[in-house]
Each structure stands twice: as structure tokens, then as C-alpha cells.
């Protein structure tokens, strides 16, 4: 008999026992939906991290001290140890070929005040180059200048969120706000960037010259500094990275290469994606187990079904079904269950991913390969777990099957 004939027989007999067929499908449905949703969530996490790293700018290198190294806790004298200094930024900018921009970066928090309004947010102290590295523009007013950094001018640019919260409808330009009670003049409002994919508001920030921030807000004992560098080209980035590391080591006598982190965007992306890949695999494996359980459910039901239908099998054989026909009939029944279950599961997976994406503000992404993987997997499960019951059916002795009560 041809495959379509057997398919029709299989579908008919599944239709005769709708509830059971549905319940068997349920296992596969949930398994596939779980796999799809988990992969989508994992994929989403990866995308978030990627977006965040890309939003740093182009060809960015980030330099920081390794605070887990012991020296940093004992060392405090300037010019030695592994703590970054503002002079390092200048040295990098001036002495290394292929460096387009370099900026000192201090980050802290502060309470902002304007007239009666209060707002607490992150405060950054940077060079004027920072705006180029991060590709930031002013929407109103202007960004501050290198001269502001030189003269430790008390100026700042604010993000849209800060502007809204401190000024409401009023014009913030040229107004004096207080950051931890230190007066700063607002010279510009940054062009809005909106939320990043993690749901963080990128406009909730205040940026001022690092010299001012260091002198007025942080004080002499502040040691937590980062340097952000933008390399000329993607091709040169690794050379620049190595040159920076060499320079830092020569400037800080007696340090090893482990005491500074000099990481490119790609390094960060790779580190982050290996974490999110591990997470994705973990999530998908857990979901895969439920798919496996679904498959065992199919086998269980198919075994019951074969036992229940021994007489039917005998009758079919008596009127001309051969072993192959019976084998195929039961395998096709199992595969039909798993494929239909798989298809519904894909639908549910999309739905679940959508819901997670919507309520958790998480950019989930169902990828075509996760769909293909699930379909292939559920098909394989049907064949794998259908085989044993089917071969049991096909190898029944005709007379015994007919006489079976």
C-alpha cells in the first residue's frame, strides 16, 4: 500500500480516539513550545547584550584597572601601581598611532536640584572626546569644549529625562543646577536615545568635564577611573589594544599585563555572548527534557494502543496487510501525533515568547532555525518512540492476534 493510504488509515484511527490523541500531543506541544520560547529568550538576551555593546560606539576600547589584583588595594601613591591616571589618557591619546579619541571616564551618582525639583541619577565626568566616542549630539545648546575640561568649568550637559524632571516645560539652557550641592551650568541637552533593549533609560544622565567632577564631586582619594578609546579602524584595533597595554605597563613600573583590562568591543561581545550562549543551551536543554518526556508519553500511549488493537492488527493482516503496512501505520500514527503536536507547540512557543517579550520588556526573537530544530526533533521523536510499539505490532503472530481476547 502506498504511504498516503497508510497516512489516511493512521489519521482515521487517531480521529477515533480524539481525547487520547490530544492528550498525547499535549506533551509534545508543551515540550516544543518550551524549547522555542527558551531559545527565543536566550536569543533575545544575546541581542540585548549585542545592542548594548554596539551602542557604545564604533571600534571602542575600554581600559580599566583590575581591582581584583591585590596591588590596587595597597597602592595609593600616584605614578605607580596599577591605578589608572588622567595622564594615562593623555599619553594614550598623544603617543599611540591609530587612536582617534580617548577620554577619561569617572562615574558616580548624585542628587540633582533645580529650584524645588530633585532628581537622582548617574553623573559622568569625561573629556570632550567622549561625545565623539559615543556619537552623542546636543539637541539644544551645545556640548562642552576641551577648554572647559582644562579650566574645570562648572558646566554640564543633561539627558532628556533629567531635563524633563528638573525643568518640566521650562528651558534648561544656561540655568544653574546643583549636583550634590555644587552649582553647574547647563549648556546643552543631549539628543534623546530612548531606552536600550534592556529597558534602561539612556537619557537619564548628566555629563560634565572630568576635571570638574574629580575636583568638586569625587576628591583626591577617588581611584575608580576608566579610559574609553576609539580606534581609527577595525583592522588596527588589535594593534592599538596591544600598544595601549604596553604603554600602560611602561608607565606603571612593575605591573604585569594582568593588572589592566584593555578590552575591545568585540572582546566584550564575545565574553557576553559566551555567557548568553551557555544560558541558552541550559534553558533549551531543560526544555528539551520536557520534549523527551513528551516522546516517552507517545511511546507509552502507542504501546497501550497496540495492545488494545491486537485484534484489529490481526484482522488487517488476515485481509492482506503485511508487516511493513502495519509497521508504517503505527509509526505514522506516532509521527502524526508528534508533528501535529510540534506544529501547535511552535504556535504556542511564538505566543509564549511574545508574552514574555511584552511583559518583561525583553527583546525575544524566535529564529527560523529554532523552529526547524523543533520540527525535526519532534519528527525524530515520533519515529524513535513510535518504532518500538510499531515493530511490536508488526511482529505479532496473525493467528495469536486474531485469537487475542
Amino acid at each position: 500500500m502506498n504511504i498516503f493510504g497508510i497516512l489516511r488509515i493512521a489519521i482515521k484511527s487517531l480521529g477515533r480516539n480524539k481525547t487520547r490523541t490530544f492528550l498525547t500531543m499535549l506533551g509534545i506541544m508543551i515540550g516544543v513550545a518550551a524549547v522555542i520560547a527558551m531559545l527565543a529568550i536566550g536569543q533575545g538576551a544575546k541581542k540585548i547584550v549585542d545592542d548594548q555593546i554596539n551602542s557604545m560606539g564604533t571600534n571602542v576600547i575600554i581600559i580599566s584597572s583590575n581591582f581584583s589584583s591585590q596591588r590596587s588595594t595597597v597602592q595609593s601613591a600616584a605614578g605607580s601601581g596599577n591605578l589608572l591616571e588622567v595622564e594615562d589618557t593623555e599619553a594614550i591619546r598623544d603617543r599611540i598611532d591609530g587612536v582617534l579619541y580617548a577620554s577619561t571616564v569617572f562615574t558616580t551618582f548624585g542628587q540633582l536640584k533645580f529650584e524645588g525639583n530633585n532628581w537622582r541619577t548617574g553623573v559622568m565626568g569625561v573629556d570632550a572626546d567622549y561625545f565623539n566616542i559615543r556619537d552623542m549630539q546636543a539637541e539644544q545648546g551645545h556640548l562642552f569644549y576641551p577648554s572647559d575640561v582644562e579650566n574645570s568649568t562648572k558646566v554640564c550637559v543633561i539627558g532628556k529625562t533629567v531635563a524633563d524632571n528638573l525643568f518640566g516645560e521650562a528651558d534648561p539652557l544656561e540655568k544653574i543646577i546643583r549636583i550634590r550641592n555644587v552649582p553647574f551650568k547647563v549648556v546643552g541637552v543631549l539628543k534623546a536615545k530612548g531606552q536600550n533593549s534592556m529597558g534602561q533609560d539612556q537619557d537619564d544622565t548628566v555629563i560634565a568635564p572630568y576635571s570638574t567632577v574629580y575636583a568638586r564631586l569625587l576628591g583626591q582619594r577617588w581611584r575608580n577611573m576608566m579610559i574609553m578609546v576609539s580606534a581609527e579602524s577595525k583592522e588596527r584595533i588589535h594593534i592599538v589594544q596591544q600598544d595601549i597595554l604596553d604603554l600602560l605597563q611602561s608607565r606603571h613600573r612593575g605591573t604585569t599585563s594582568e593588572e589592566f583590562y584593555v578590552r575591545t568591543q568585540t572582546d566584550l561581545a564575545e565574553a557576553a555572548s559566551s555567557v548568553s550562549d551557555t544560558m541558552t543551551i541550559l534553558l533549551a536543554s531543560i526544555a528539551g527534557i520536557s520534549l523527551l518526556v513528551g516522546g516517552i508519553g507517545i511511546m507509552n500511549i502507542m504501546l497501550v494502543s497496540v495492545t488494545e488493537r491486537i485484534k484489529e492488527i490481526g484482522i488487517r493482516m488476515a485481509v492482506g496487510a503485511n508487516k511493513k503496512d502495519v509497521l508504517l501505520q503505527f509509526i505514522i500514527e506516532a509521527v502524526t501525533i508528534s508533528i501535529f503536536g510540534g506544529l501547535i507547540g511552535i504556535g504556542l512557543g511564538f505566543l509564549a515568547s511574545g508574552i514574555v517579550g511584552k511583559y518583561m520588556n525583553w527583546a525575544v526573537e524566535v529564529t527560523p532555525w529554532s523552529v526547524m530544530l523543533s520540527v525535526g526533533f519532534s519528527c525524530a521523536i515520533g519515529i524513535f518512540f513510535g518504532w518500538y510499539p510499531a515493530s511490536k505490532a508488526a511482529n505479532l503472530n496473525l493467528i495469536d492476534a486474531l485469537r487475542y481476547e
Binding site: N2, I315, V319, G320, L402
Partner: protein, 249 residues
Amino acid sequence: MPELLIKTQHLTKTYQMGEVKVHALRGVDLEIHKGEFIAIMGASGSGKTTFMNLLGCLDHPSGGTYWLDGTDVHAISDTELTRIRNQKIGYVFQSFYLLPRTTAMENVELPLLYRNKLNHHQRHELAISAMRKVSIEDRMHHFPNQLSGGQQQRVAIARAIVNEPVFLLADEPTGNLDTRTSLEVMAVFQQLHKEGKTIVLVTHEQDIASYAQRNITFRDGKIVADTTNPNPKDALSDLARLPKLDEEE
């Protein structure tokens, strides 16, 4: 004499039941010609069903040879045996063996499904014409549990003849039926016989056997009597003579 259809030579069948061997058939020699209508009789356990299963290619003999239409059945492959079951033999069972929750139509179509190269339409036509022959076509959309015993047996007979087999085997086809329906079923067999079918039927009722042309008696796995019945009774006229009951629904 018409063509020889079946020839068995010292056919034996032994069942192994744990330690004990059950000799169900102890050497059966028989010749059946095309167009014969044979009734096999014998006490319960005398080996009738075992013999029928061998004739129907449902089981393998333990010894001896069986020629069907010139082929040595013992020598051929399982696939070939399946094909013979499907196309040369129609088997009617005592307890009908219809697929449950499956319409009469689909039950009759069953052997056709396992025959290649038939489309839906052809299957439908063949099934309807088989059902028409046994006058059950008006019940084709009914499920077995919606049919009386006699009607179910008609569906089973329709299934047996749908592939136009060379011969029909029936193992106690009236065993589960009352007198009237038994006669109706016998009338169907007699009609099929008139149309040229070779029929072998098992019964333990002398009365039923008297509708066949030849009576064979089994005892302890052997044929002990083989007689011709020159004047078989006519089931249709006997049916007419039965006292009228309430009409069948």
C-alpha cells in the same frame, strides 16, 4: 471434472503447549475442485479451525504440502502469502471480526486498501457492488455496533468477496446467529456458489451442512468421512417456509 483448486497431502499441525505437544492435525489429504460447496463438520477440538487457517494461508503447517491453484504454498515468501490472502482468499469468521468504530463501508473496503493501484473511487465502487451482492448496501454508513448479528456477518461476507477471491472460507459463520439469520446467511452463500464461487464452510450443525454439496467430517485431526450430498437443501425456500416473525427493522 472441473479444475483442481486445492490439494493437501498429509497436512499436519502440532501446537507446542509448554511441555505438551497438541496434534491438532494428524495428516489430512484432500482435493477440492473449482465450484465446489463443502461443509466441514466435526466435534469441537477436532481440528476444523486449524485446517481452515491453513487453507486460508493464515498459518503455516507443521508438515505436509498444500497446493493452492497450482502453487506450493509452503514454499513461498511471507509477502507472497499476504498477497494470496488479500486476492485469492475470502475468509469469514465466526465472530465477524469487523473493525469497531469503523463504518460497514470502510470495513468492506479494508482488503482493497492493501491492494495497490486502486483509487478512492474504484474502491468505493467495488465495495458497493460487494455489499449489494449480500444485500447490505443500505447499511453502509452504519457502525458494527449499530448492526444485528446477521447484518454484521453480511458485511463480513461482503469484505470477504470484495476482492473477487477464488474461494471463500467460512469458519462457523452461523455459529453466533439464530435460525432465521443462519438461513439468510446460508442463502447468501448458496447464491455466491451459484455465481461460481468455491466455498468451504465449517459448521457443527448437521442442518447447516445439508445446504452444501459435499460433507467432510473431522475427528481427532483427521478426515473420517467424505460424502457427497446429491440433493442439497435450498436456503431461500426454507426461509420462506419459516413462520413469519416481526419484520426485521
